[in-house]
C-alpha cells in the first residue's frame, strides 16, 4: 500500500524561535505514523536550513535547539525542500544550505500539494 503523503509549508524563521519547533515535531510524528512527509521551506523558513543556523535557535530557553528537532525529522525520513525564490530573497545558494535539501521552484509546491493527502502551513 502506498503511504499517504503530507506536505508541510514552513514560513517561520529565526525571528520567531517559538514557531520553529512544532513544525519539525509534527513532521517527525507523521513520519513515525508511516506518512511520507515533505517539508517545503519558504519566506523566512528557508533560513533555518542555512548551515549552522538551526543550532543557534532555541524555541525554549535551556531546551533543545531547532537543529535537534531538524535532525530528528531527518532521521525519521522527512524530506526537506527549499523554495528557490526565497533563497534568492535571502541571498543563499545551494552550498549555503545543509546537506540533503532539494531546491525546488514554487510550482513544485502546487504539484506536491496535488499528491498530498494533507497540507499544513506554519
Amino acid at each position: 500500500m502506498e503511504p499517504d503523503k503530507i506536505l508541510i509549508m514552513m514560513t517561520s524563521g529565526p525571528d520567531t524561535p517559538r514557531r520553529c519547533a512544532t513544525p519539525f515535531f509534527m513532521a517527525t510524528l507523521a513520519a513515525a505514523m508511516e506518512y511520507e512527509v515533505t517539508m517545503f521551506f519558504t519566506i523566512d523558513g528557508t533560513l533555518l536550513l542555512k548551515r549552522g543556523m538551526a543550532a543557534t535557535i532555541f524555541p525554549k530557553a535551556g531546551g533543545k535547539s531547532v537543529e535537534s528537532f531538524l535532525n530528528e525529522a531527518l532521521e525519521a525520513g522527512v524530506k526537506l525542500t527549499a523554495c528557490t525564490a526565497s533563497m534568492e530573497l535571502h541571498g543563499l545558494t545551494q552550498s549555503d544550505l545543509i546537506d540533503g535539501v532539494k531546491m525546488v521552484g514554487g510550482a513544485s509546491f502546487w504539484q506536491m500539494s496535488e499528491g498530498a493527502k494533507t497540507v499544513v502551513s506554519f
Binding site: 513515525a32 505514523m33 508511516e34
Partner: protein, 148 residues
Amino acid sequence: MGKIRGCELPEDLYYYAEKHVWAKPMGGSLIRVGMNTVAGKLSGGKLNAVTVRAKNIGAEIAAGKSVATVESSKYVGPVPAPVAGVLKRANEKLTADPNLAITDPYGEGWIVELESPNWETDKAGLLAGPDGLAAYKAKLEADGISCE
C-alpha cells in the same frame, strides 16, 4: 526477571532489539506488543500520548512498520511491529494514561495485539532466552545505553 545494564528485560519475552520493543505470544496466533524498559528510558520522561491510527485496526502491518507512536516532551517516535501481522486492537487504557507504557511496560501498559499466523517462523528474527538477552546486552553496551 532479568536485569541488563539496569533495564528490566524478562526472559520469557521476545525482543525486537533494534527498536526496543517486546512481543509475547498470547495463545493461538495472537501476539501482544509493547515498549520495553530500554525504550522507556530513551523516551526521556513521561509519555503524553500513545497513539494507534484507527485506520490501521484490521490492516496487515509489515514487520518493522509503525503500529503506534509515542510522544513525550523530549521525544517522538514509532513503535514498530516486531513481526508481521494484522493489527487486532490497541490497549484502550493508554488513552487515559499513556505513561502506563513506561510505568508498567510488561503488564497494563502493553500497546497493541497482532494476529500473526507466521509467528513460529518469524520469531526467529527476535532475541529471546539467555542467548538472546546476552546479545541484547552486547548491543546496549555497544550503543552506550543504560537504565541506571
